[in-house]
């Protein structure tokens, strides 16, 4: 075995362990952190496969952005673990049986019998100046242009859907449109009332006013 093989097996073992812990960890925050570990080791395996760009993107996008956001959400939610795990033992025999069956089938088919190096063949080594990123960019904008654009549309729909489902016109909001604020004219705010600076007191008032003075 070469050095790279050892690295691969170490990464693979960590990846499997982390993946298992994601679904078995009691604390959702721990589960999310194990998912970060799983992504990180998967990125390591991709590096071994010489897919540098994908490896870095996996770390940047998934570990750096998606999972951090996810962690915040998990921390903010008040998750009742006991309620979530209700019925776990009840479903375990059936689910476990199906899981083991599927795993066995996949081992039978995905083993080295069908995917061994003798059948598929190792890819030819790339020259030193081969740029994984440039190649990906080239096919993304030429061969896979249509699917790339469609992915953009899917993301647009996701934005529209998220806004349509969460945006509410709240009646109690104190928000003021700045445009309306700027457009305000003086006439909208103050009413000019013509009033003499000095007003002759009426006869009656004058009489009323003088009376208390006399009393005092």
């Amino acid at each position: 075995m070469m050095f790279q093989d050892y690295i691969f097996y170490i990464f693979a073992a960590i990846l499997l362990f982390a993946g298992l812990r994601v679904i078995t960890a009691r604390n959702p925050v721990h589960a999310a952190l194990f998912l970060v570990l799983a992504f990180f080791t998967a990125a390591g395996i991709w590096l071994l496969l010489e897919a540098e760009f994908l490896a870095i993107v996996l770390v940047l996008v998934y570990v750096g952005a998606v999972m951090v956001l996810f962690l915040f959400v998990v921390m903010m939610l008040d998750i009742n673990l006991d309620k979530l795990r209700e019925g776990f033992w009840e479903y375990l025999p059936m689910a476990g049986f199906i899981g083991v069956l599927m795993a066995a089938e996949m081992v039978m088919i995905l083993g080295s019998k069908n995917f061994g190096v003798d059948r598929v063949g190792a890819p030819p080594p790339k020259p030193a100046d081969y740029s994984n990123t440039a190649e990906l960019g080239r096919v993304l904008y030429s061969d896979y242009l249509l699917t790339f654009e469609l992915a953009a549309v899917v993301l647009l729909v996701a934005i529209i859907a998220a806004i349509a489902l969460t945006l509410r016109d709240r009646k109690d909001t104190k928000f003021i449109d700045p445009a309306d604020q700027v457009k305000v004219k003086r006439a909208d705010r103050i009413r000019m009332v013509s009033m003499p600076a000095f007003k002759e007191p009426l006869e009656q008032d004058a009489a009323d006013n003088t009376e208390p003075k006399d009393k005092a």
């Binding site: 249509l146 549309v153 859907a161 806004i163 349509a164 489902l165």
Partner: protein, 482 residues
């Protein structure tokens, strides 16, 4: 990249609808609620424009675009035109219902048009990736549309169920596609077909992939044993959204089945034939028997959908040109019947009242004889009573299955259709022989009433003269599948 213009012209209907959807979304921001009618008419105009483009650019020849990722063949054109017609009818039916429930918003129209782009891409997908992206675009819009009535807990629950099971189905489909890629080394459907023709690479791997692909497709179609989501989602969604889920997307799902199983994996037809046989038989049996027990009309129509999908699979499992053409005929007939059926439910709903239970149909004949007659036609058509369209659709599908040698299964299907007739005719009995529980007048705009009349009478007329639709189906299949 010199041929990008010819690529763009091949995909012109999609680009047009996409552009209009974005325009409508933006325009909606500048409109007052009282001007929303403009959005409605603009959406209809979009559909008309797309139909014009599709018809004008139609040729019997098959043309590929975007490095073989996208195909424009007669089947794609025919199914796209049917999609436009179905969507336009749906817009007419749902307008009043939506405006009464505060959902008559620009987002609804934009999302439906985006969903339609997804369907069009599915119909024209010639690559596993394109098909998958189209499917995701469609599904994402549908999840959001079901949840659009966000203060309704039932709709939210339905959206959640739909989303989780839909994601599971997408995962299965993707896994199957990845197996196919492993087995054949290509994602392009034509190349996959060719490489399989030259000799099976690894049979077991191919079959594992096939199982996952068929399971994913069955999930999306709602065939037994992957039907669990159908009744719940149909029941929980606002009726306008149920109408959308139940009708036009089935055209796209049918196209996807043809692209994947027939154009891509025809070499292993014997294997998928067996799977489809099991699903077809179970769908017809469970759909028809479970529908009898329903008291909610939306649930009843959901189980009826499952049985219709069973009949659709009968045509597909024949794996013959005749079978595919009759399946296409069946799916278009199904869309027209579903639109009319849900159209009637929408017609009977009013402000603050959802016509959902079978009891709401009681004595419809006394309240409105004409609408009762229309519903009679729809129910007869769904049951497959001659001379309606539903009869002819079932007849051609079963005929194709008979030609393929499935004599026992055809007899079984006919028996099950007779069982199914029970619950359709029960609706007729409720309408004509029971006293109405609800005597309030039917409140619906004229456009919707006219649409329903045209739709239901259309079922009768097309049933008497099915040659045109059958001719289109046969033509589309003949020129699209080599």
């Amino acid at each position: 990249m010199s041929n990008i213009f010819s690529d763009l012209i091949t995909a012109l209907p999609e680009i047009f609808v996409l552009g209009m959807a974005m325009f409508i979304l933006l325009l909606d921001l500048f409109l007052k609620p009282s001007q929303r009618g403009l959005i409605f008419w603009l959406s209809q105009l979009t559909l008309a424009g797309a139909a014009t483009i599709t018809v004008i650019t139609h040729t019997p020849a098959v043309s590929y675009a975007f490095n073989g990722m996208f195909v424009d063949d007669p089947m794609a054109d025919a199914l796209k035109v049917m999609t436009y017609i179905g969507t336009a009818m749906m817009f007419v039916y749902t307008r009043h219902y939506l405006s009464l429930r505060g959902m008559f918003r620009g987002e609804y129209y934009a999302l439906v048009l985006f969903a339609m782009v997804g369907m069009m891409v599915m119909i024209s997908g010639q690559n596993f990736l394109t098909l998958y992206m189209g499917l995701e675009l469609l599904s994402l819009c549908l999840y959001a549309l079901v949840a659009l009535d966000r203060d309704n807990p039932r709709a939210t629950e339905a959206a959640m169920k739909y989303f989780v099971l839909g994601a599971l189905a997408s995962g299965m489909l993707l896994y199957g596609m990845s197996m196919m890629y492993g087995a054949t080394g290509s994602l392009n459907i034509a190349e996959v077909g060719e490489s399989l023709m030259q000799g099976a690479p690894t049979y077991s791997m191919l079959i594992l992939g096939l199982v996952f692909i068929v399971a994913g497709l069955a999930f999306k179609l709602g065939a037994v044993p992957f039907q669990m989501w159908v009744p719940d989602v149909y029941h929980g969604s606002p009726t306008a959204m149920t109408m959308l889920i139940g009708s036009v997307p089935k055209l796209a799902a049918f196209a996807m089945v043809i692209r994947l199983l027939v154009q891509g994996l025809y070499v292993v037809a014997v294997d998928w034939q067996g799977m489809l046989v099991i699903m077809a038989v179970l769908s017809i049996a469970i759909g028809n028997v479970a529908a009898i027990a329903q008291t909610n009309i939306k649930r009843m129509l959901a189980y009826s959908t499952i049985s219709h999908i069973g009949f659709l699979l009968f045509g597909l499992m024949s794996a013959s040109m005749n079978g595919f053409a009759s399946s296409m005929f069946y799916v278009s007939a199904y869309v027209l019947m579903t639109l009319a059926g849900f159209g009637m439910i929408l017609l009977l709903s009013r402000q603050g009242f959802e016509a959902e239970n079978l009891d709401d149909l009681k004595g419809l004949n006394q309240r409105s004889p004409w609408n009762a007659f229309l519903m009679l036609i729809v129910m007869f058509s769904m049951a497959g009573v001659p001379p309606t369209l539903g009869f002819y659709a079932k007849f051609t599908v079963l005929q194709a299955a008979l030609e393929a040698g499935f004599v026992g299964l055809v007899i079984f299907a006919v028996l099950m259709a007779a069982v199914g007739a029970f619950y359709y005719l029960r609706v007729v009995k409720l309408m004509y022989f029971d006293e109405p529980q609800d005597t309030s007048p039917i409140d619906a705009p004229t456009g919707m009433r006219v649409m329903l009349s045209v739709n239901a009478i259309g079922l009768l007329v097309l049933g008497l003269m099915p040659q045109a639709l059958m001719g289109i189906s046969a033509y589309a299949m003949f020129y699209s599948i080599q």
